[in-house]
Symmetry: C2
Subunit: 141 residues, 2 copies
């Protein structure tokens, strides 16, 4: 990821320590919750309000700089890989989340079998399963 300040400038956003730290945190720890990112930001700049973090995450997600994913039964996660509409694979046991590219190409799966007249702009895909570690743990008993 490029310099956080540049990214903010390019999107016409004011440049603040909080936003820069949030961007760094997302980039450094993708697939983290707002809470975890707040922690990370605090270790970097000392203090932030939870609101500032939500604010930054919200506007950055709006601008398409970062991406928000909201898996069922979990708080929202944020990642800096945005704009390529890749998908996610989540472990039901430990919650580990990994990126997956879609087999069908660049802007994948954007065609439903029957679109019912909708204009579709995004296909969100989450694969649920069990990660290798948890599989091994289960096998051991």
């Amino acid at each position: 990821m490029r310099e956080p300040a540049d990214i903010l400038r390019e999107h016409g956003l004011s440049i603040t320590a909080q936003r820069i730290a949030v961007l760094r945190a997302v980039s450094h720890r993708p697939h983290s919750t707002a809470d975890a990112l707040t922690e990370e930001v605090r270790t970097e700049i000392g203090a932030v309000s939870k609101q500032a973090v939500y604010n930054a995450l919200g506007i950055l997600a709006d601008k398409g700089v970062i991406r928000r994913i909201q898996p069922a039964g979990s708080p929202a996660l944020y990642e800096d890989r945005a704009g390529d509409n890749h998908h996610h694979l989540i472990c039901r046991t430990c919650g580990k989340t990994v990126d997956v590219d879609c087999a069908t190409g660049e802007t994948p799966c954007l065609t439903a079998s029957n679109d019912a007249g909708f204009r579709i702009d995004e296909a969100e895909v989450i694969y649920w399963g069990t990660c290798p570690q948890c599989l091994a743990a289960a096998a051991r008993g």
Copy 2:
């Protein structure tokens, strides 16, 4: 859907007025929130506690009788079409939710391009877009 009481019996669940009414409500109004279903159940049997509804929805979803979907930014929705792993198409503007069958077959999309060693058991797909009505409304301006 078959007789609610039979369904409950088949899954070894006690037969209660609340559960029957919940099943009927889900069947009658698919893609509803727990709250809306509680309303529906109340008109049918007079009163239920919110807990009883959550309880019934939870256990029925566990048994695979109904399916729970949790779109980003919305409370969970429930539907009685379960077990065929179909997908959903949701309007960003009005929230209308419709079912879509997957183009690729019976148990669709269960293969990620790179499974990272996970054992995948479900592929959850949500198409986001704008429904015909909202498109028309936007065009009128």
